[in-house]
Amino acid sequence: MESQERVYYPFRGPFDPCPPVPCKTFVVPPNQFINFQPPNLPQFSLPEALRAGTLWPALFSPYESKSKGGK
């Protein structure tokens, strides 16, 4: 699956008071690429679907907490 994360590089001024964050990210979930879900998409097994929050891998969007590692 193609990455759902997008990166941009904000302006870094010479007088920024705090240590600059070199890049910022945001998520583009798969619903942005589908206008109308086609029939017969592959499905997760039911236990997987419950954990994922969707029946279809094509709609699944992973997200990891930034609380660890820090971004």
Binding site: P29, N31, Q37, G53, L59, S61, Y63, S65
Partner: protein
Amino acid sequence: MWIYEKKLQYPVRVSKCDVRMARYLTEQYGGADGELAAALRYMNQRYAIPDKVIGVLTDISTEEFAHLEMIATMIYKLTKDASVQELEAAGLGPNYAQRDHALFYQNSEGVPWTAAYIQAKGDPLADLYEDIAAEEKARATYQWLIDMTDDVDLQDSLKFLREREIVHALRFKESVQILIENKDQKKVF
């Protein structure tokens, strides 16, 4: 008419005693982009929208109430055993002063929920685009909440809720497509 199933839509397990998160989770309870606002917005808009998409609004509204119940469970678990000192340290002192350990429909800053958060424009496209935006804002709020806790069990439930927002936004996009494509009318070429 509704049928209530006496279980949560997805299990809620909270493993870390972290009263601070209870306060932040209130954003999804009674905030502008929270589950209550979502549920009431869709439940109301469905009376002035073409028949073909009423069901989408009803279904999603119903599910948002199930999400509201999950958020309430999280907040309840995080606060039920908290001492007054712990609540105060988490910024929930004013809440204790008003209502002890009770939950309330307010955002994370303590501003009470208001119907001014939601709209009903009576125009199907205007309403559905508001709904799509609301889902994306709720998705973003879930992301920031996931960022704010290192409790993996709480993160797990929040990730489920975040994914549901993505699916809901797609269902509203599909509703827009159904309305603009004019599928019932005979085309003559």
